[in-house]
């Protein structure tokens, strides 16, 4: 399989990186703005600010009133949204192709100058706190990721959850918000991606028109302090939650994105779990009826990573047995040759997933952004599939050795609250 997308790359004088990819299949465009700021840039006592700030970006800018962003996109027949992660904050809209200039006007106006008031900020704090309750506090197993990060990434900016803490969120002031914007929402700290049906020269001229005179008011602080400890031997945690089925999380420390191990980690995840022919699914769910589900989640970020194996069990008395089965399976992968069919299966899955990721202008833009940010070039999107296809037994064993075999594990158990 070959993926061969054509990317045109430019950098404006103010440092804004521009990536264009034409795709005339449908009369649509997707504009994506990625800002290189996320929860990793938050200071202690201000956890959750990057995400709260994402909300403030929809609260009006110099020339767009408070509900104006959503209303303008809606009037233009488009859809828009945004998300915040540890490393990046991303804003995107998909619109009919004739509406490109509207999208550029909206995005450039909020990069240029926001309009933050006490009232809007107070309102969005309240919205974000309800979001936190809905998605995490009031949700079964909703605090699991928080506990994993806290334990794995101890001592680094990744140790706090992206959603943050209630007191920190409430402490964010209008002045701090303006300062945050000046520091991180500058052209030099962002990437603009345009995918879809447009005429290149016209699009470039419009981008220059709207973004060319935006100044960099301040630059982000350099990040350091991503050194973190290996997992200690006795590290485990039991959490009582309002749940029916107990869950076990076995967490392993992994490398950051961009290292050679990440592609084989994906293989290991799929060999072990995540589909019905995987080894752990067959043993735990199908043959032994010990678990309702098992999945392996690699969470790899710019400066570090974790891989966790989550099993949802029918009975907490089986924690030990399930753990042993998982560890035995990891050892088996390591010691015995993995047969070619099993490896071919993963390659077919990856090929299909890569092709699927190209079906909409939005997913092409988002994939392009991730390649640019994590691998330094959009062209990596064309090479990624090839990376997966060149994984063999030996690569998998090397990664098992680095991440899983005889490594200390952070073990976390979620058990039903006593009534």
């Amino acid at each position: 399989m070959t993926i061969d997308l054509d990317f045109r790359q430019y950098t404006l004088e103010n440092g804004l990186k521009i990536i264009l990819h034409q795709n005339k299949k449908n009369p649509l465009i997707n504009l994506t703005l990625g800002y290189k700021v996320g929860s990793k840039n938050e200071k202690p006592g201000k956890k959750g600010i990057a995400h709260l700030f994402e909300h403030m970006m929809f609260q009006g800018s110099e020339n767009v009133d408070r509900s104006g962003h959503f209303k303008s996109v809606q009037n233009a027949g488009g859809l828009c949204n945004a998300f915040t992660m540890q490393d990046l904050t991303v804003y995107f809209e998909t619109l009919p192709s004739g509406q490109l200039e509207t999208a550029l006007w909206l995005e450039s106006d909020r990069m240029n100058a926001l309009n933050i008031s006490e009232e809007n900020l107070a309102n969005q704090k309240s919205v974000v706190i309800e979001e936190k309750k809905q998605r995490y506090d009031n949700s079964p197993y909703g605090t699991a990721n928080l506990n994993i990060y806290k334990n794995i990434f101890k001592g680094t900016p990744y140790e706090s959850p992206v959603i943050g803490f209630e007191n920190d969120i409430n402490s964010f002031s209008v002045n701090e918000a303006i300062e945050f914007h000046n520091k991180f929402y500058s052209p030099a700290n962002s990437v603009l991606i345009l995918t879809g049906d447009f005429q290149e020269e016209n699009a470039l001229n419009l981008i220059k028109k709207y973004f060319g005179n935006i100044e960099n008011k301040n630059s982000p602080d350099a990040l350091n302090n991503f050194e973190y400890e290996n997992i200690e031997k006795t590290n485990s945690l039991i959490v009582e939650d309002k749940i029916t089925l107990p869950a076990m999380y076995l967490c392993f420390k992994a490398s950051a994105l961009g290292s050679e191990t990440e592609f084989s980690i994906e293989f290991i995840a799929n060999l072990l779990a995540n589909n019905k022919s995987s080894r752990l699914y067959k043993k735990l769910v199908y043959e032994k009826n010990l678990a309702k589900s098992v999945y392996v989640a690699p969470l790899l970020l710019k400066y570090g990573g974790v891989v966790y194996i989550k099993t949802l069990l029918y009975d907490k008395s089986n924690f030990e047995e399930v753990e042993k089965i998982i560890i035995d399976e990891l050892n088996d992968l390591y010691i015995n040759k993995i047969n070619d069919d099993e490896i071919m299966k993963i390659k077919n899955e990856v090929e299909f997933a890569e092709i699927q990721s190209l079906t909409s202008v939005k997913s092409i833009s988002l994939n392009t952004l991730m390649c640019e940010y994590y691998y330094g070039s959009p062209d990596f999107l064309n090479k990624k599939a090839q990376k997966y296809l060149s994984i063999y037994d030996a690569d998998i064993k090397k990664t098992l050795d680095e991440v899983f075999i005889n490594k200390n594990i952070f073990k976390m158990y979620y058990i039903p609250e006593k009534k």
Partner: protein, 423 residues
């Protein structure tokens, strides 16, 4: 490459929104449709831009035909891939995964779905698997027991979610003694009682050619698609299904009622406020659709604006119509701070009253029409999303030109019709 352009600076006035250019009109794409010799509805949307093919099998049955055995329809659908006369459950999973394909299935109140999605190069092999699953399921006792454990535990753990509890209470009150009142996946008691005879009987009566719609999407021609259908499904005899009788009567709630489900220590209240509505076919779709989008069906809607952007009660609030084949419901859903539950309810009721008693503004109506018509091409971006629309025409017996007249019908809707739709 460096951006090197010495054009003079544009005169830019940020205070003025740019004039939008007229968007290209996008007609609803043509699709192939035909019937097999034994009555299967076949739809093909050929798209050769990527080397993938999906096929969806939709049986017009669903949990409406559970006949008192709540959860049966869903149980049968889930059992299909758990072994056939030719392959065990594990062999099916291994083959599907080996080809990198996906096999998915599900049930709702009016239909049972099975679909495959695969690389074009493995299409033949994957199609043969799904053919075996649909034609020769073995329903082994051992697999039935295994699935039962999973389903019962799944239903138990759904009760951990407060929106499941509020939804359940709402449906059972609104839909009375009809199957729409019951959760599609069933209840722990009812699922515990389902046996092999029930499963087999449901399968024989409902997974029939005359109940079936098949939609092919992707790298495949109509001729080849029809050949696959005839060769794999064409020999099944057409079963005359009994005339579908709408045996259940649906009664609207006359005086307002409040149902409370207590969930200890919950930090939010999950609200669901609504009423019985009409079926998909009876609905005056366009006024209803626009009215709901203005009321609570979009981010900029009145209810979301009021509860989230004005009051900060919630992360989000929405309203929607759930249209089933024989009846429907309308509801507003949100999760709010526990302390302001009463205030949130009264704001929702206020918005419902305003919508019932006053006209929407011209600006609201124009903006929503712009959105719905402008957004139409986005909904046609992928061949799979086109297929979903075509399937819905068949499933709910709608006019075939529903989507080709969509934009003109949206533009015709008046403020008066919207007010009527809010009753």
């Amino acid at each position: 490459m460096e951006f090197n352009n010495d054009l003079n600076f544009y005169d830019l006035d940020r205070s003025k929104p740019p004039k939008s250019k007229h968007s290209k009109d996008v007609p609803f794409p043509e699709f192939f449709e035909s019937k097999s010799s034994n009555g299967i509805d076949v739809i093909v949307i050929e798209d050769n831009s990527l080397p993938v093919i999906s096929v969806r099998f939709v049986f017009k049955a669903g949990s409406y035909f559970d006949e008192g055995k709540t959860g049966l329809s869903s149980f049968v659908t889930d059992m299909l891939s758990k072994g056939t006369d030719e392959m065990t459950a594990t062999e099916i999973a291994e083959k599907i995964d080996y080809y990198g394909a996906t096999l998915s299935y599900g049930t709702d109140s009016d239909a049972n779905f099975i679909s495959i999605y695969t690389l074009e190069k493995y299409f033949d092999k994957v199609f043969n698997i799904v053919s075996s699953i649909l034609n020769k399921p073995s329903f082994k006792e051992e697999e039935i027991e295994r699935l039962r454990i999973q389903k019962v535990n799944s239903i138990k753990s759904m009760k951990d979610e407060s929106d499941y509890l509020s939804n359940r209470a709402f449906k059972s009150r609104v839909y009375g003694d009809s199957p729409y009142a019951m959760p599609v996946e069933g209840l722990t008691d009812s699922v515990s009682k389902i046996n092999r005879d029930d499963i087999y009987e449901y399968y024989v009566n409902n997974f029939t050619p005359s109940n079936l719609i098949v939609a092919f999407v992707g790298n495949i021609s109509p001729e080849i698609a029809m050949t696959y259908i005839e060769n794999n499904f064409g020999s099944q005899s057409t079963v005359d299904i009994a005339e579908i009788k709408n045996a259940f009567s649906f009664k609207p709630i006359v005086t307002p009622e409040v149902l409370i489900v207590n969930k200890k220590d919950a930090v939010q209240s999950s609200l669901k406020i609504g009423q019985l509505s009409v079926s998909r076919k009876e609905a005056d779709f366009f006024p209803v659709y626009i009215m709901n989008n203005i009321l609570g069906g979009s981010f900029t809607s009145r209810i979301n604006y009021n509860l989230r952007e004005k009051n900060g009660f919630t992360y989000g609030a929405r309203s929607y119509f759930e249209f089933n084949k024989f009846a429907g419901d309308f509801s507003v859903e949100t999760e709010v701070k526990t302390g302001i539950t009463a205030a949130a309810i009264s704001e929702i009721l206020k918005e419902l009253n305003v919508m019932r008693n006053e006209f929407v503004t011209d600006e609201e109506l124009t903006s929503m029409k712009n959105y719905i018509t402008g957004n139409f091409p986005l909904q046609l971006e992928t061949p799979n999303s086109i297929a979903s629309k075509v399937i819905s025409l068949k499933l709910y017996d709608l006019e075939n030109d529903f989507y080709s007249r969509y934009i003109s019908n949206v533009n015709k809707v008046t403020k008066e019709q919207i007010k009527d739709a809010a009753v």
